[in-house]
Symmetry: C5
Subunit: 98 residues, 5 copies
Amino acid sequence: MKLGRVVGTVWATRKVDSLTGLKLLIVRDLDLDHSFKSSFVVAADSVGAGVSEVVLYAGGSSARQTQVTTDRPVDAVIMAIVDRLDVSVSDGDGVESA
Amino acid sequence: MKLGRVVGTVWATRKVDSLTGLKLLIVRDLDLDHSFKSSFVVAADSVGAGVSEVVLYAGGSSARQTQVTTDRPVDAVIMAIVDRLDVSVSDGDGVESA
Amino acid sequence: MKLGRVVGTVWATRKVDSLTGLKLLIVRDLDLDHSFKSSFVVAADSVGAGVSEVVLYAGGSSARQTQVTTDRPVDAVIMAIVDRLDVSVSDGDGVESA
Amino acid sequence: MKLGRVVGTVWATRKVDSLTGLKLLIVRDLDLDHSFKSSFVVAADSVGAGVSEVVLYAGGSSARQTQVTTDRPVDAVIMAIVDRLDVSVSDGDGVESA
Amino acid sequence: MKLGRVVGTVWATRKVDSLTGLKLLIVRDLDLDHSFKSSFVVAADSVGAGVSEVVLYAGGSSARQTQVTTDRPVDAVIMAIVDRLDVSVSDGDGVESA
C-alpha cells in the first residue's frame, strides 16, 4: 500500500454505470517525513476519508476487494485512514553477504 | 485511476478478434494543474470520450471490469469523463510521528 | 496499452512447457512522435507481428486474454498491429478547477 | 519480489473491516549492497517480521496469496524474512547477439 | 517479460509455508546491449536457472502461472533461459501520422 494525503475530489457525471455513488478522491503521495511527492492518484473511497486526511490506498486488483469497489473498474482504493506512523530508520545491516 | 486528456486515436485492422469494435484512444497523463506530463497510454473507451476531453482511466485487471472490455486483452480503460476537479492542496501535517 | 516497435526476437529452448510454440518478440517503447524510448519489453505475439512493425501491447493479467497466452506465464502480449496514429495535441484546458 | 527493511509501523483505527488484526509495516526498499533506496511501501505482515529486519515482499494480486491477506484490499505482503544474500555480480556476457 | 541475468540467491528460513522448496534468485535487469541496468528483482525459479545465466522473467499474476508458483505469494518467476537475442534496431518509421 502507499501513503498519501487527500487533496481534492473528482466530479464526473458521464461514467460507467457501476461507478455511480462512488466517491473519487485525489490523493497525493507522501514521503515518510510527510512531505508531498510529485505523484498522485485518483482513488475510490471506502472508509469515509475527507480532504487533508492521511490515508493508505491499495492499487491493482486488490483495489476491488472492498464492498464498494467489487467488480468495478477501479484500480486504487482508500482502505484506511492513518492515525499515526511510527518510523525508526536505521542504517545498520544485519544481513550477511557472501 | 489516473487523470488524462484524450489526444488522438489508434487505428489497427490486424488485431486480436476480441478487440473488434473497440475504440482505442491515446491519452496523455495530466498533472493536477492540468499541464501535460510526458507519459501517455492507449486506452479502450467505455464512455464515448472524444478528443480533447479530460478523462479518468483505470489500469491493470480493473480495465476489464466494463461491458466493452470483459475478457479482452486490454490493460487500460477510460471509465469516466471529468466535469471538474476540486483541488485544495495543503502542506500542513495532521499525523503525529513517534 | 503501450505503443512499441518490434526490434527483435528472443530464442529460448529451456523454458516452461506451456511456452512452447509461442513467439517472443522484443518491443521497444515508442513516443507519440514515433521516436524510441529507452525502455523495452519482451512480449508474446498473438497477431503475427514482424520486425520493424509498430504494435500495441497489453501488460499484466490482460496479457493472458488471448488464445495463445491463456494460463501461461506471460505478462505482455502484442494484440494489434498499428496502421495509423491520429494525434492532435492541444494545450487548452476545458476543465474548471475550484 | 523486492528486498526491503522494516523501518516502522502504520497505526489506523478507521479502516475496512477485513483489515482488522493485520499488522501494517513500513518497508524501505534495499539495494543489493543493503543501502536504502528512496522508495518505500506499506506491507501487510504474514511472517512475524519486526523492525530492522530484512524482508522480501510480494506485490499486486500475489500479495493476497497468504492466509492473512486472502480477499483483503492489500497490495503488498511480507512473505519471508531474509537470512542471507549470496550475490556474485559479473559483467561477463554469455549470450550471443545476431 | 523482462530480460535479466541471475546474480545471486536469497536464503530465508522464516517464510510463508507455501514457499518451501522454492528457489529464490536475484535477477538484475539487462539492457538490449546486455549491460546491467540498476534495477533488480527477486524471482522464483521454475526452469533450473543458475547464477550468470540470462533469463526471462514474468511479473504480476502471470508469475503464478507455473507449476511451482501456483497460488503462492510470488510476483516474479523465471520462465525461460535465453539462448540468443536477435536484435535489429531501426530508426525508420513506417507509421503515417495524420
